[in-house]
Symmetry: C2
């Protein structure tokens, strides 16, 4: 993509009311725009990252047999009354239509998915199955001060599974747990599987996927040795206490919850009368699990966990572009023209390169802007944080080379253009 | 996909309260679920079609330089007051948060996009540019009786373009018009470019893309000879009247509006003070265009325009699967086992075939259900409407063949399995 034609507007300063690092860097880098507290737009750069996260999640959910659907945000009051959550859920936005009919704006979709499933006759032969969506959720949070980590409107993946019995649900729960860890790994996050309460959803223990960072709103107590981890809400253990599993010392740390999986059991199928016909011909309640993951929160967490004082350092698989190609103007017009010609050739050639196992095309952002200083271009490239920076200038061309630098490295290399692709492997 | 494991639940009868053909067939075929009037879920089959429509639109919008973004549904009252639409737009859902702050649920995004753009310093060098999204809209329609043609919550693509002057906006308008026609063609729709009023958006003439069908809520008057077409709201001409452009007879017909493109000019940039700095250093108002297309409406229109009394006949590029492979059980258990083995082999082989210019994998829905009669399987295949139906049974195997039939054809053919792929080209 030509940067001169892209809606990528970087800023030197973040707005003063934005205290979180993720929102500051994403706003400055032109990834997002803030509409109002807790409500953000994803601009072209941010949307590219979001789409890559969405793609990873879709692949991993499909791999565990999830079938993708799309459910509505407008949800009738009557559904939420069936589960007693119309009153009990404090983050529920409520809206009346012109005919005074009341709706909730879906903060989650247990009610709607259970309603869909109960309308269809199901037998033991249909079990198990799992449906998921990637969709906007609305939660009327009292405070929204963590940038895109806790939005009032945000993008979420929610998977719901249906089983004939508890044992099968538990088996699938472990399958999804592994899929979650794979998703976070591909997004460049080190997630700690943490025991937590079932919250508003369930009385059972749930599992959170926590990423340790000072920006976290949660506190977890974990053991680096055996992997034991609990949310502060479940334990009084402190740093230095003995791990209840292996006896080694525990560590307390702040963390961001990037995913949460729940045992629903028959909580919703009972309240909403969702049955299947078992082998013996009797009607039994569906046994359910639900598995959430906030896409915008994953994106924000990646920024919290991967940045330096110059900007974002995107993990390879979700960087907005693989490479940021920069051309530097020369004072001499003729020389400048030649440099732009060579840079354009490099851009065209790089755009035809395929990489990785999938043999996808290399994605290149070409900073072809004129009248922008080298310092500004370098600063923008560091802020935007593509995996590789490639510089073409009169100086590099004098040696028949281009300069290449990994965003996460401190030193640049001069290499022949034909070696650039090899460097990126 | 194995049908035995898919959440595809066909129904013999549509709910009695559903009068539109699109909703009847989509509900019966297991494509959608109705949550409440004007609010539908897309189930796995329906979501597959929706995703294909989304992919076509994304490709064609990218091809005209559109940059994809995602804007919020929760939009502060203050923005809508700037354009005087908080009061004037009757379909606006309004919601209050816990702190009594008021929001509109976005029925469209002129306010938000103009707010984003005005926050960024723009010069003539940045012009033109175009931003688009595919996102859920909310409109409090008084009546919602056309199935997914007019939902209260629906998926829409909206593109907004920004220009230095009116001439450039007009040039781009024509470019988008061509892209729209390409999208509809790929979706199997014959769209008529129709002059209409600017509606709530603009005082200028807009252009609608109308598909002639009796399910339409609009009436258009058009000339088959020269292509002239106007919405009833602009003309009093009737069937048989002379075309004002070429003199040939006009035809009146019902039609569904599947897209609408508008000249916004400076309507929003003026109200919201959105400027760019021109070559001469002066600040000028941005000149805007906007271009809408309802994805769920396109999907519903395809059903209205492509069905028979047995079900849907999907156009090739958006069919949920290319082929519906059906295995028929035999009464003899041993023979049945052999038929299932051969059908499974066919399924595995077909799944590895690549088709089309893109060399994408052939998508096959395999009806491997046991205890379901041949009649039910054929009826389901006709209802679901994949492009090709392939049958494997003891009868076809006795001749060393399989049966293949195009959904839109009336006759089936017996061919050797190795010829099946050739048949599908």
């Amino acid at each position: 993509m030509l940067q001169s034609q892209a809606f990528i507007k970087t800023k030197r300063e973040a707005p003063k009311d934005e205290v979180s690092v993720n929102a500051q860097l994403l706003l400055r880098g032109g990834f997002i725009d803030k509409l109002t507290s807790g409500v953000y737009s994803f601009l072209p750069l941010g949307f590219r990252v979001l789409a890559k996260i969405e793609r990873i999640i879709t692949q991993e959910m499909d791999a565990v047999g999830g079938q993708k659907i799309l459910m509505p945000a407008l949800q009738p009051k009557s559904l939420w009354e069936e589960t007693d959550r119309w009153v009990s859920m404090d983050v529920l936005y409520k809206v009346k239509d012109r005919q005074e009919k009341e709706f909730a704006l879906g903060p989650t979709h247990e009610e709607v998915i259970t309603d869909i499933v109960r309308k269809h006759p199901l037998s033991y032969r249909d079990m198990p199955f799992a449906l998921y969506q990637i969709q906007t959720k609305f939660r009327d949070e009292l405070r929204a001060k963590s940038g895109i980590l806790r939005g009032r409107e945000f993008l979420m993946k929610d998977l719901y599974s249906f089983h004939a019995d508890e044992a099968d649900r538990q088996r699938y729960y472990e399958t999804v747990k592994k899929a979650y860890l794979e998703i976070f790994k591909r997004c460049g996050l080190k997630a700690i599987v943490t025991e937590a309460s079932g919250g508003a959803f369930s009385k059972e223990i749930s599992h959170e996927f926590q990423v340790a960072t000072d920006a976290g709103e949660d506190i977890i107590v974990s053991c680096a040795s055996c992997g034991f981890a609990q949310n502060r809400e479940l334990t009084e253990a402190k740093t230095g206490d003995a791990c209840p599993k292996c006896g080694k010392p525990l560590t307390e740390q702040k963390a961001i919850e990037v995913g949460n999986i729940f045992t629903l059991g028959t909580r919703f199928s009972q309240a909403m009368k969702a049955f299947f016909t078992d082998k013996d011909g009797t009607e039994k309640l569906l046994v359910m699990g639900c598995y959430g993951m906030g896409l915008s929160r994953v994106l924000g967490t990646v920024v919290e966990a991967n940045h330096d004082d110059r900007g974002i350092i995107w993990p390879k698989e979700i960087a907005p572009f693989d490479a940021h190609l920069i051309v530097l103007e020369s004072k001499d017009a003729k020389e400048s023209k030649r440099v732009f010609t060579e840079a354009k050739k490099a851009y065209d050639a790089l755009g035809k390169v395929t990489i990785g196992k999938e043999k996808r095309l290399l994605e290149v952002l070409y900073d072809d802007r004129k009248g922008v200083s080298p310092g500004q271009k370098f600063a923008d490239a560091d802020l935007v944080g593509c995996t590789w920076r490639i510089v073409v200038s009169a100086k590099t061309l004098a040696q028949g080379k281009v300069e290449i630098k990994k965003r996460s490295d401190t030193t640049a290399k001069l290499v022949a253009f034909k070696s650039v692709v090899k460097e990126m492997h």
